[in-house]
Amino acid sequence: MSDIILDIKSVNRTFVSDDDSTTKALHDVSLSVNRGEFLSIIGSSGCGKTTLLRLIAGLDTPESGELILNGEKIAGTNPKRGYVFQQGSLFPWLTIENNIASGLKARGVYKEHKGEVQQYINLIGLNGFEKSFPHQISGGMAQRVAIARALINNPDVLLLDEPMGALDSFTRADIQDKLLELWRKNKTTMILVTHDVDEAIYLSDRIVIMTPRPGEIKEIIEVKLPPPRHRGGTEFLAIRRDILEKLHLASAAPQPEYTI
């Protein structure tokens, strides 16, 4: 597991808002990701976890520091780095089938890989919905399609930006299992951004805990539970308590949970 696929070296990223105030989204972040591992990044909102993911995707560039994937510096987007967005990222004008195929069509390799579209539809269990449009399927189905669309390009790394954030807990558990199944099958390196501690423990080999203002990595926790993991297991709950404590202590000035 020492084979490093992605190396992030002291990356900084600052955002300037309209009123000239600056937000240090990422401060000196360094991280190595092993080939084939499932890594989760967890933290409260504003801790820079999505910013980090966007940098890896090439949707954004750092002010300083560099990101190296397979020995090459990341510059711009590349289908080798698949990205699954939060809700509503499917193209509404394309059928489910064509949404999945759009991954191939965007690269101009649709003809050669045509058959894979149906394979992925089978894999995500959406048979019979090939000709449906995104607004006709549920949110959970839509996210499965979004995952399939990114995976059909056979990426080295799949970046998941809270893909299950807006789903109910049953659908979420269902997609988590699907994701694990796809991960074991394709051996794609997964980097998941989430704010759900259970989800992170259930899925990951390692969990990166980030803290906001400035966005920094606080700690990296290894989850050594063998599959299948039980959400109610003693060890699972112990790790959960540990992470929650760290997250709670993590912010210097605790934010109120609800603001009215």
Partner: protein, 352 residues
């Protein structure tokens, strides 16, 4: 539909409280059927039974093997309407949704029939309406007997003019819209021009068009083109600019280059606006088309109106208006069908 299946076969079922799930009983449908055709039957009766009191010249025309005057053509049209609505009624009898639609239209069709009858009596039989401005309904049909091929020629002329302007206008409009929407430089230079020229009615350019273009036809095509062009261009640009950033980012992470972003993301997203542009532009286009034809074309329905007016042949003006109503409605219908096909991915537009 669901409630219907449970009560099928019970003509004397209890009355449902909800209007939406209301079932049209056999008896009610038959009443609606009679109401629908009664108006037109009354119009036929009025024409046949009311004596021709005023002195109106009724000319016979040879149509194929038949000899027809405008009054008999009027009766044929009324009979055709009765047949069409009867057929529609019988067809609708077997389907609750169609029954509902048919029943809903019944009062309107009754009034249309009765109005035709009254108009016929006042306009043709008694000549009580101011003449020659308001001929009766039968007289309006006379041009179709008098000069059918000439009218057809004018229709085709208008249709040809419209088609040229429509196709060129949409192509130019969508192209301009894409350029404005995609390139900030083009937006900066072209958008203000579009904004100002967009409010100018196309006919204002007529003096230039008529002098600068080699033929009246090309001048008219130009005027119709700019009607479509500016409206469609600004709406296309809006549609492209309002494409969510996420859609572009998704495409880029999938490996898309600029052509894919333009043609497979921005343009599909702009499609609803493009169709809105086409609908708005069509209104301007019909107006411009008729005006241009009235003022400087050797043919077309507008020309026909103008030429008839000179001879005080107002019944021909009415005939042209009737043709326009049908023709333009058909064009809108076709555009609507294409739209609902292209935009079938939109929520709420999908009909199961």
């Amino acid at each position: 539909m669901q409630t219907e299946t449970t009560t099928r076969g019970f003509p004397f079922r209890r009355k449902s409280k909800q209007a939406s799930s209301e079932r049209i009983s056999n008896r009610r449908f038959i009443v609606a059927f009679i109401i629908t055709i009664f108006g037109f039957l009354a119009a036929i009766a009025a024409n046949l039974l009311f004596p021709q009191i005023a002195d109106v010249k009724i000319t016979d025309y040879q149509v194929g093997a038949f000899t027809l005057d405008f009054n008999s053509l009027y009766l044929i049209v009324l009979a055709a309407l009765v047949l069409i609505y009867s057929g529609n009624g019988i067809f609708s009898f077997f389907d609750q949704d169609r029954r509902k639609k048919f029943t809903k239209s019944a009062p309107f069709r009754l009034v249309v029939g009765l109005a035709l009858g009254i108009w016929d009596v006042l306009g043709t039989k008694l000549l009580l309406l101011p003449q020659p401005f308001f001929p009766g309904p039968a007289k309006i049909l006379e041009p179709f007997l008098m000069e059918p091929s000439y009218i057809l020629q004018q229709i085709l002329y208008s249709l040809r003019l419209f088609s040229y302007g429509f196709v060129i206008g949409i192509s130019a409009g969508v192209l301009t819209g894409i350029l404005i929407g995609w390139f900030p430089k083009v937006y900066y230079w072209v958008q203000p021009v579009l904004k100002i020229s967009g409010v100018i009615p196309a006919v204002a350019w007529m003096p230039f068009a008529l002098t600068l273009f080699p033929t009246p036809f090309s001048a008219a095509v130009f005027l119709i083109t700019i009607c479509q062009w500016f409206t469609i261009a600004s709406l296309t640009a809006q549609g492209i600019q309002s494409t969510p950033k996420t859609h572009f980012e998704v495409a880029r992470t999938l490996g898309a280059k600029t052509p894919y972003l333009v043609f497979c993301v921005a343009i599909p997203h702009a499609m609803p606006q493009i169709f809105t542009g086409i609908s708005i532009a069509n209104g301007f286009t019909f107006t411009t088309l008729v005006m241009v034809e009235m003022m400087g074309q050797p043919g077309g329905l507008g020309y026909y109106i103008n030429a008839s007016k000179v001879w005080s042949a107002y019944y021909k003006v009415f005939a042209a208006i009737v043709v326009m109503a049908i023709l333009f409605s058909l064009i809108l219908k076709v555009v609507g069908l294409v739209e609902s096909r292209v935009l079938r991915w939109r929520k709420g537009l999908v009909k199961s």
